[in-house]
Amino acid sequence: MSKQTLIPVGPYHPLQEEPELFKLYCDGEIVKDVKWETGYNHRGIEKLAEKKSYDEVFFLVERICGICSTSHPFAFANSVEEIVGVEIPDRAKYIRSIIGELERLHSHLLWVGLAGHFLGYNTVFMWAWKYREPVLDLFEMITGNRNSYAMFKVGGVRRDIENQKIPAIEEVLSLVKKKTDMLVGAVMDDPVIHARTKGVGILTKQDILDFAAVGPTARASGVDIDVRRDDPYAAYPLVNWKVITAEAGDVFAKAQVRLLEMYESISIIDQCLVGLKKEKEGETEVKIKHIPEGYGTGHAEAPRGEVYHFVVSDGSNSPARHKIRAPSYTNIATFKKSCVGQTISDATISLAAVDPCYCCTERLAVALDRTSGRRIMNAKEIIEHSAELTNKLLQHE
């Protein structure tokens, strides 16, 4: 086998906000193998959850990830409400779906911007993030914070969306719709973006099934799954919308799915607002006194895919076991298929295409010092010493 050079991407790389180490084993410009090293993001959340009361866990899980900050409380609420066996009022269902879809909008805009940035297309980055701001302003108006909204509680929602706020929401939505039209035009019709993303990072349908990937990553390869339709929850069965899929499985298809999903999200929110106006203001929760013994499964469709929470209750005020599976856990593993055989520059956009959220992926923890002596170089040193350093790195024979 020919010698391969190791190019680390990360852990503290300017391309990624989160620390992750991807070791690309390259032969010339082509990536032959990829190894993923993690552990930089461990915070011990599953264990911390066992020390907190059910109500406090909501604040903990929404900080698993800032971008999918609603999806984790959504899934957790679904699982605890399953243990209790309760149905929440319709107004709460509409509010939950509105917050969930607003989050999808801001997350997809964020991704479009970052994808543009990785391709070197900074204009897309600036414009996508500029039009993300009105959505964050909406969050601030409704919940008090631009991120980490603390809207969920067992049995309903913490705050109401008063009917007087609805016109402001509708105004922002029509602005976002216009700007999505613009972004779709800019991205879908641009020949440079076509050249950089079509045929790049392909995942076939069989790959998706093998890795059990979810979300837009799966839907872009023709796998028609979406928790909101398959196992409906909150207000999704009460409104009309469709699941977007594509067939090609490349980065372009993933971008297409995400952009078109934004239109569906806007439509869902509009319908939920209509539904909200019909419900009585103030009926936002059903009071729950006690969580009985048992276990519950809750899943929700986050912007990245299915987020799954499994809660075991022993009748006390804290969960006995809280298992969290974020969509990125299965999606990131697909890089083994999508990056191998590509050039290094294509590998970075393929990695970004699954919209990885590393803070969702690692949450577990505990003590003690490292025992292995092996030192991992970081990308910063590569920039400085380039050729000299690449020779010193591990050579894969």
Partner: protein, 124 residues
């Protein structure tokens, strides 16, 4: 400015990145995000630093050309936030490297981040 994200939830990272975007536009203050610590005057640190990040944070601080100003961002950067009770927690930032400014918030709004950094640079 060089950005080091420790074990965080990403909210602060996104708000820092938001400072580059048209509404907040940090470049008009003469600030730029760089790819290498050796080109930076300011080190932005956020996240609750875990045992794996700690040696790397120290390394980055050592490699920074002095003088360098360190800014701890967010509740996690300042005190460890909600993750301080976790078992892999090895921070907060000021237990590992000296910090010149703290910007609290969960996450702090971009206005707060800009105000904090501008104030720090004005003082120095």
């Amino acid at each position: 400015m060089f950005h080091f994200g420790g074990a965080s939830c990403n909210n602060c990272d996104i708000e820092i990145l938001d400072c580059l975007t048209p509404r907040y536009d940090v470049e008009r203050f003469g600030m730029l995000l760089v790819g290498s610590i050796r080109h930076a005057d300011v080190l932005l640190v956020n996240g609750s630093i875990n045992k794996k990040d700690k040696p790397r944070l120290l390394e980055i601080y050592e490699q920074a050309p002095k003088p360098v100003l360190v800014v701890a961002i967010g509740a996690c950067g300042c005190t460890g936030g909600i993750f301080a009770e976790g078992d892999t927690f090895a921070g907060p930032v000021d237990k590992i490297i000296p910090v010149d400014a703290y910007i609290p918030g969960c996450p702090p709004k971009p206005e707060a981040i800009l105000a904090g950094v501008v104030k720090l640079i004005g003082k120095n």
